[in-house]
């Protein structure tokens, strides 16, 4: 990155470069060839077989099928939207350029893990990714923290993976993939994952990506454009899973479990809170395990900012956050290096008060991930 950004100079404000910035969503690039040495047989053979397949963005047959934007006519553009980070050195340098102090790493291709129909292959991929992530990334630099991928196709194996890394100081979360997920994360089949995460003291972080599949809410074939699919895939998936996890009682059965959601912006939160509370008046008997109104549980969920909405009145962002009492649950995320990443400078244009600003950029994330300001687990 070669662009300079000027530090905030508003009176009484800590300049952005001096503020603690924890980034709740950053992506490493895992290629099939890189994961192969970490993968159990026979699946390592399959990874090597696609290691040389020319790659489009998040689109490798048999690995991450059906790329973002591969459905629409492809006109030429200077916006290539294919940034990737291949090494910890590259990541540390690029994050420093946007003033990020600590970053939680997510995959690129494995955003689509749930669409793979072969259970044993999907589980082997998740195990290979986790081993590779710790060996090649989080153990290499103290600013790089990891989220262990939980394979939804094999919840028992995912629980074992969480236990395996529970005491690794560089692992601070469990990544719950949402793209093409069926059933939604509220289903009881996933309880071993939540149980393991709660016991390990690790939060679960939901992350979706744009895919087109028959599975709700990714049955988005009715849309003509990537604008429509991309605008809805991430947010609808997070809304669907939050509603699922509240309405099946995950939030009650695992009261100590910290839950975070990424890449959905924040403006859906007031809607979900208000709508669920409205329904609850009529249908409480369907969710008798809830002892409080649904919004009580929704508001305990940590919400990552990216892609932060960009209304003309930036004050609206503060209002939105206040509508879900998000002072202590809203956490900054950049989504670096993806095409729709947010520079912290953008969020810093929002007229937060200084305490809100400190909390959103870093301190709330310390609570979510259970870490101190150097990234060490507490």
């Amino acid at each position: 990155m070669t662009v300079e950004t000027s530090a905030t100079t508003r009176t009484g404000r800590t300049p952005l470069p001096d503020l603690l910035i924890v980034d709740a969503d950053v992506h490493v690039h895992e290629s099939p060839g890189a994961l192969a040495p970490y993968c159990d047989p026979p699946w390592d053979v399959a990874l090597r077989a696609v290691a040389d397949v020319p790659e489009r963005y998040l689109d490798i047959p048999g690995f991450s099928p059906g790329g973002d934007g591969t459905l629409t006519a492809r006109f030429p553009t200077a916006h290539e939207a294919t940034r990737m980070v291949h090494t910890p050195e590259q990541m540390v340098e690029e994050l420093a350029a946007i003033h990020v102090d600590l970053a939680v790493l997510f995959p690129d291709h494995l955003l689509k893990l749930p669409v793979l129909p072969q259970v044993e292959y999907a589980a082997a991929l998740a195990r290979a990714y986790n081993a590779w992530l710790v060996d090649r990334w989080t153990s290499r630099h103290p600013a790089l923290l990891g989220a262990i991928a939980a394979c939804p196709q094999d919840p028992e194996d995912a629980a074992r993976e969480i236990e395996r890394y529970a005491d690794d100081p560089s692992i601070v979360a469990v990544y719950l993939p949402c793209a093409g997920l069926d059933p939604l994360w509220g289903h009881r089949r996933y309880d071993p994952i939540f149980d393991a995460a709660q016991n390990a003291g690790l939060p679960v972080l939901l992350h979706a990506v744009t895919v087109t599949s028959p599975v709700f809410p990714f049955n988005n074939h009715g849309f003509d454009t990537e604008l429509a699919r991309h605008a809805t895939s991430h947010t609808f998936a997070i809304m669907a899973n939050v509603v699922s996890m509240v309405s099946t009682g995950v939030v009650v059965r695992f009261p100590e479990l910290r839950i975070g959601v990424t890449e959905a912006g924040i403006s859906w939160m007031p809607f979900v809170c208000n709508r669920l509370d409205k329904e609850y008046l009529e249908r409480r008997r369907e969710v008798p395990f809830l002892t409080e109104r649904p919004s009580h549980y929704v508001k305990r969920i940590y919400v990552a900012t990216q892609p932060i909405e960009e209304p003309e009145r930036l004050r609206d962002i503060v209002t939105l956050m206040e509508l879900y009492d998000g002072d202590r649950t809203t956490v900054f995320a950049s989504d670096w290096p993806h095409h729709d990443f947010d520079h912290p400078m953008k969020l810093d244009q929002v007229p937060f008060d200084e305490e809100q600003r400190r909390r959103v950029f870093g301190e709330n994330a310390l609570e979510l991930f259970g870490i101190d300001r150097t990234g060490r687990r507490r």
Binding site: F75, A78, H79
Partner: protein, 124 residues
């Protein structure tokens, strides 16, 4: 204003662009149809390196006269920011998604074989 030499004319073949430094500023110099244009290398959206987009392209437009069918236009005159894809029409500096935004345009002149960009004098 000061005219700063930023290269030789042969450095800017038709249909290409480069980012140059002049008067402490990074400026994209574009050769479109034999005419040179200068734009700041900074996107008005999140400050991305606008002129480092690798190629000039056209874009899609539609209007009532064309039955709202898309047509390819402005071929070779549009740059998109590599950060988030915001498009600008280089000859006018107009941002296509936010027409109220128009980038400043630096005057680019050719004298002999040299290319000059006109930039404000540095203060103090």
């Amino acid at each position: 204003m000061t005219d700063v030499v930023v290269g030789r004319l042969a450095d800017f073949p038709e249909g290409t662009h480069r980012v140059v430094e002049a008067g402490g500023r990074r400026i994209g110099v574009f050769n479109i149809g034999g005419r040179l244009y200068g734009l700041p290398n900074r996107c008005a959206h999140q400050g991305g390196p606008l002129c480092e987009g690798r190629r000039l392209t056209g874009t899609l437009a539609a209007d009532a006269a064309g039955g709202w069918r898309p047509r390819w236009e402005l071929d070779g005159e549009v740059i998109a920011c590599p950060w988030h894809g915001l498009e600008y029409h280089v000859p006018t500096g107009r941002c296509l998604a936010m027409p109220e935004i128009r980038l400043r345009r630096y005057e680019v002149a050719v004298r002999g074989d040299d290319v000059y960009v006109s930039v404000p004098d540095r203060r103090g």
